[in-house]
Each structure stands twice: as structure tokens, then as C-alpha cells.
């Protein structure tokens, strides 16, 4: 309703391809980034930065990773956490075994490692479809978890398999402070979302959606199904791997396999179901929801007279609520919060006309 579109027209295809065709949206995005990069580090306290914003950003990135595979390429996966783990441990090992390797490089390489593993477990998708594929991704989930704990080499032979992350330095600047870790995360996430945006709008992105929507037709058009699916697994793996590395280094400060168990995979799946399958912004919405809702719930509980709801019950309630929410979304709005927002926006652009 506050859009003013008259006079915004394109004389070149390049202009038409912009992901934010409306001037108002472009300005909005710029403002948002300015706030995120300048204002937040300024005003945000340590709790908010390290307990809310960093996990929110990392989970958004992980959500994007899974969304590429499930939302865009239509391949269901329950192994997301495994690939995060691979990314985290690969990054850690690169840091400790290759001295002088810049952090960002080792994170990228960690992502690459995850991509390879992911593609490996994606191989069965060339023969099997639908939830048969769950077997492969669950196999990844359990096998990776097992291997990382079983072989001390991965955790540099530390007793517990739990290892603390090395100092975060970029170009000699130390980033161990919450602000530093926040900015590191934010930068990586923004960069990768930009790439992700290009990716899903590229030919490859369209091929993924084609395979998702109607694979026979895709094949008849001449889309190489095998290559397309494997690339989906690999790129999804890369994003998850980087997310895993950030989760371990920028958020927890420790690297441990148990942080990447099946429930983490479910959490990420829930993020994209709630946020929106096949949507970029949805990952942020879903992640925000997943991160903020428990905080909200515990705050509400603390308002009640003490001991009425203990922590355990709170967790159960949370579980029930999330479960119910998933079902609700699948029934009412399978395309998630992103779709709701988009629908509202479309109506606002047309208001007061209906169509």
C-alpha cells in the first residue's frame, strides 16, 4: 500500500533480472544491511549477539543449505547435521594441522569437504526417489556421527571427542569477542546468501525446480538428471558445511559430534518447513522462529508463579508446540511464512484493487 511503482519500468533485460525490481525494496534491503553491520554491533549486548543473533544467522545459513536440496531440488534429507559436522571437523583439522592457513580459507575448504561427502551420499538419489532417499541421508547421519566419535584422529585424539575451537583471527584481527564473531558470521552469511540467490535464479536453479516439479519432463527437455541432483547435494553440503563450521567456531566455541545429531537435522528441516520450502527469505524467517520461540516461551513461563512449569515440562510443551505447528503449516500454508509474507506484499501492491 505504500509502494509507488508508477514510473519504475525496465528498458534492459539486466534491469528486469534484478532480484529486487522495486526501488523501495532495494532501499529497504540497504537499510537492513546497514543496521545489521553498523547499528547492531554498536547497540547489541553480548547476550543478544552470541545467544540469539549468531545462532539465528548460522541456522538461517543451514536452512538455506537444506532448502537448496529439499526446497528447490525436491530431494528430502534428514542428514543435514551430518554435513554440518563434516564441515566443522574438516575446518578444525585444517586449522590445527595446516599452520598459517587463513580461517576463511579453512572454512571454505571445510564446506568443500562437506560438499564431497554430501555428493557421495547423494549418489543413491540417481536410482531412488522420495522417502526411499531418507535411508541414504539417515545413513549419512549415523555413519558420520559414528566415524567422528570412533576415530580419534578427527578430534585430534582429544579424550572426550570434545575439542575447543582455536582463536578466531582474520588478517591478524582477533574475533573472539561476541561482536567479532557476529560480524564474521554476518559477513559469511550475507555473502553466501548472495551467491545462493544467484544460484537459484541461474539455469541450475531452474533445473533443480524442474526436477522437483516433474522429472520426466525435465529429462525430456534434456536436463541431465544425475548431474543436476548431485550438484544439488554437493552445493547443499557446502552450505551446511560452512554453517557447521560457523556453528562450532563462531557460536559454540567447541566442536563435538553430539551437537550435530539427528535432532539438529530435524531442527533444520523444521526451519525450512516453517520458513518456506523453495524460498530464500524463508530461511531467515524460519530460523528466527526456531531461535526466538523457546526464548519467548521460557520468558512467558518465568512470568508464571515459580515452579508451576519446570524446565522439563517447558521442553515437552515446546516439542508439542513445534510438532503441532509443523502439521498446521503443512496443512494451511505448505510454503511457509515466506509465502504468507509474499501474499501480503502482493495484496499491498495491488491495494485497493483485488487483482
Amino acid at each position: 500500500m505504500f509502494y509507488r511503482e508508477a514510473g519504475q519500468f525496465n528498458t534492459r533485460y539486466a534491469e528486469d533480472r534484478r532480484s529486487f525490481p522495486l526501488r523501495q525494496d532495494r532501499h529497504g534491503l540497504a537499510a537492513l544491511l546497514a543496521v545489521a553491520f553498523v547499528v547492531v554491533p554498536w547497540v547489541g549486548n553480548d547476550y543478544w549477539l552470541s545467544a540469539i543473533l549468531i545462532p539465528f544467522l548460522v541456522l538461517s545459513l543451514a536452512g538455506l543449505g537444506l532448502n537448496l536440496l529439499t526446497g528447490y531440488a525436491g530431494q528430502l534429507s534428514l542428514g543435514s547435521a551430518a554435513f554440518m559436522a563434516v564441515g566443522a571437523f574438516a575446518t578444525y583439522n585444517l586449522e590445527v594441522r595446516v599452520d598459517g592457513l587463513p580461517l576463511l580459507i579453512s572454512i571454505a575448504l571445510g564446506g568443500l569437504a562437506a560438499a564431497l561427502v554430501s555428493a557421495l551420499f547423494g549418489l543413491p538419489s540417481l536410482r531412488i526417489k522420495g522417502f526411499y532417499l531418507l535411508v541414504s541421508t539417515l545413513a549419512a547421519q549415523f555413519f558420520v556421527g559414528w566415524a567422528l566419535t570412533r576415530f580419534g584422529w578427527f578430534s585430534n585424539d582429544s579424550a572426550s571427542g570434545v575439542i575447543s575451537a582455536p582463536r578466531l583471527d582474520i588478517f591478524g584481527v582477533n574475533l573472539d569477542a561476541p561482536v567479532g564473531r557476529y560480524l564474521l558470521t554476518l559477513t559469511v552469511v550475507v555473502a553466501l546468501f548472495w551467491l545462493g540467490k544467484n544460484l537459484v535464479r541461474s539455469e541450475l536453479g531452474r533445473q533443480w525446480m524442474a526436477v522437483r516439479d516433474m522429472d520426466t519432463a525435465a529429462a525430456v527437455i534434456g536436463i541431465p538428471l544425475a548431474k543436476t541432483k548431485l550438484l544439488a547435494f554437493a552445493l547443499s553440503g557446502f552450505y551446511l558445511g560452512v554453517a557447521g563450521a560457523l556453528w562450532a567456531f563462531a557460536y559454540l566455541g567447541t566442536v563435538e559430534p553430539h551437537g550435530f545429531d539427528l535432532s539438529r537435522s530435524f531442527q533444520i528441516l523444521f526451519i525450512i518447513i516453517i520458513g518456506g520450502l523453495g524460498s530464500l527469505s524463508g530461511n531467515f524467517l524460519g530460523a528466527a522462529f526456531i531461535v526466538l520461540f523457546p526464548v519467548l516461551l521460557s520468558n512467558l513461563a518465568s512470568l508464571l508463579p515459580g515452579g508451576l512449569i519446570d524446565a522439563g515440562q517447558l521442553e515437552n510443551l515446546q516439542k508439542m508446540f513445534f510438532g503441532a505447528l509443523i502439521i498446521l503449516f503443512l496443512i494451511k500454508e505448505p510454503e511457509g511464512l515466506a509465502r504468507l509474507w509474499q501474499g501480503f506484499r502482493e495484496r499491498a501492491r495491488r491495494w485497493p484493487l483485488r487483482y
Binding site: F131, W146, T216, M320, I326, P334
Partner: protein, 293 residues
């Protein structure tokens, strides 16, 4: 060699336990085309209800009936709240819905009965029994017999009763079934209840084994490879699959374990299932549909 057979038999008997869970899946999958991830949660819920009642001094049979009633309620609720609104949506969507469902049921079960571990004694001594020179757990044999009788009961239910007829009709072709006046909703409720019943039995046996606790709901993760190997649509397939998984993972643990490391039984079934998928995508007994364009 003796040892080998002991391991094998032990594995097979353990496989029976998987069967009990897997059968629940197959029932629901046949009737409503849903891969019911919540089956594990149902096992947990039924067992937890049963135990808690028992601990509150409710007699065995009554506790059993009440738990069964609870499963019926769940079945009705699921049909109303989940299946009906999601009718003719994609299998993936339905699967994710049951994922949510499992969260609801688990959360509910623990909110209701608490999260602590309950011991459960069905009064079957677990001391091994000498059979043909092999030591076998009485309990396992008991479990095997229960499973066998359960399967017998089910096959009677499906082959001899009108319900069974209706069920098979629905499984073959929902639309046709509707056309001849079978009420889909009712069939679903019944099937989910039966699955709940199977879940209850499985829950009791598993619970007596490991104690009734959250980890029960994780048996679902074992059932998946069982189904892949057996085929989603065939009970006998599920049974064979369960036995294969049970035996192979024990053998693997015993013979491969020392080589590549212990604790492989939590991923080995999946590796096996993958092999099966690549060789025979429809499973041993499942029929494969040819894709028509």
C-alpha cells in the same frame, strides 16, 4: 561355528522385535500411503501409559485395555486432524506431517507421565535356556512367540474379516474403494488403532528389555531399513526384513566390529538397506509401479 549360530539365532530373535515395529508401519502405509514416522512415538506413548498405570496399581489387563483405548483416541485424533486435511497430498508432505506428529506425541507422553525411566517386568525370567547345545534367552523366545501369534492374528484379521477386505480394497485403489462405499476415514481409524495395538505390544516387549523410556521412540529408526529391505507394502516382507536386519547387524557387530570398530549396528542396517535399494529398489516383496506418462 556353534558361536556363529548362537549369534545368528540371537540376531534373528532380536529381529523379531524390529518386526513388531515394522508391522505397524506396513499396516498404516498400506491403508493410507503414509510413511508413519510417529510409529516410534506411538510405541513410547502406549508403553509409557501402560507402565505408569501399572505403577499406580491398576491391574495388568485393565492397564492394557486403557492403553489400547488411548491408542484408539490417538488414531481418531490423527485421522481428524492430520490425515483428513492432508488427503491426496504428496507422500513427502504426509511424511513430514508424521514427523511433526511424533514430536506432539512424544512431548505429550512425557508431559503426561514424566521423562524418567520406568522398569517393566512382564514376569518372564531372562535366564538363558539350553536348546540343541545353544544358549537362547527365554525372553527372546517369548517375544518371538508373541510376534508369531500377533502376525497370525493380523493375517486372520485381514484375510478373513470384512474389515480386512475393505482394507485391501483401500490399499489397492482408494478411489475405487470410495466408489463401492467403503468409508476411507473409518478404515484409517481402525488401521491406526491396530497399528497402535501392535505398537503397544512392541512397547511392552522393548520396554521389558530396555526399560520404558524416551529411547523407545528411536526404534522407528531401525524400522526404516527393515521396510526398505522388506518392501513397504508387505507384512511378510517386513518380517523377513526384520530378521535379516537383526541377524546381519549382530553378525556385523561380532565379526566386523573388531576390525572397523564397535558400535556399527546403528548405521550398518542403513548401509545394508542402501545396497538392497540399489539392487532391488522395490524391496524383496514390494511390487514396483511402472511410471506411465
Amino acid at each position: 561355528m556353534e558361536f556363529f549360530f548362537e549369534v545368528l539365532i540371537g540376531g534373528l530373535l532380536a529381529g523379531v522385535m524390529y518386526d513388531l515395529v515394522a508391522i505397524g508401519f506396513v499396516l498404516i502405509y498400506k491403508a493410507s500411503g503414509v510413511f508413519n514416522f510417529a510409529q516410534g512415538a506411538m510405541v513410547l506413548f502406549s508403553a509409557l501409559t501402560f507402565v505408569s498405570l501399572l505403577e499406580r496399581g491398576v491391574p495388568f489387563w485393565l492397564a492394557f485395555l486403557i492403553s489400547l483405548a488411548a491408542m484408539l483416541l490417538i488414531a481418531v485424533a490423527v485421522e481428524r486432524v492430520v490425515l483428513r486435511p492432508l488427503v491426496n497430498r504428496s507422500p513427502i508432505t504426509l511424511f513430514m506431517a508424521t514427523l511433526g506428529l511424533s514430536y506432539v506425541i512424544e512431548g505429550f507422553a512425557q508431559a503426561l507421565w514424566g521423562a524418567q525411566v520406568h522398569g517393566l517386568d512382564l514376569g518372564i525370567s531372562d535366564e538363558p535356556l539350553e536348546l540343541g547345545g545353544m544358549l537362547l534367552s527365554q525372553f527372546d523366545i517369548f517375544a518371538a512367540l508373541t510376534a508369531a501369534s500377533l502376525v497370525a492374528l493380523l493375517s486372520w484379521l485381514f484375510n478373513k474379516t470384512r474389515l480386512g477386505l475393505a482394507l485391501r480394497a483401500v490399499a489397492d485403489d482408494p478411489l475405487a474403494a470410495l466408489a463401492v462405499g467403503i468409508r476411507l476415514q473409518r478404515v484409517w481409524v481402525v488401521v491406526w488403532t491396530v497399528a497402535g495395538f501392535v505398537g503397544l505390544v512392541a512397547g511392552l516387549l522393548w520396554g521389558a528389555r530396555l526399560g520404558v523410556q524416551f529411547s523407545l521412540s528411536l526404534v522407528v529408526l531401525k524400522a526404516l531399513p527393515v521396510l526398505i529391505i522388506g518392501g513397504f507394502t508387505s507384512i511378510s516382507g517386513a518380517i523377513v526384513g526384520g530378521l535379516i536386519i537383526g541377524a546381519s547387524e549382530k553378525l556385523a557387530e561380532v565379526y566386523l566390529g573388531p576390525i572397523i570398530g564397535s558400535g556399527i549396528e546403528n548405521w550398518f542396517p542403513y548401509g545394508l538397506a542402501l545396497l538392497f535399494l540399489l539392487v532391488r529398489p522395490a524391496g524383496l516383496f514390494g511390487e514396483r509401479a511402472i511410471e506411465r506418462v
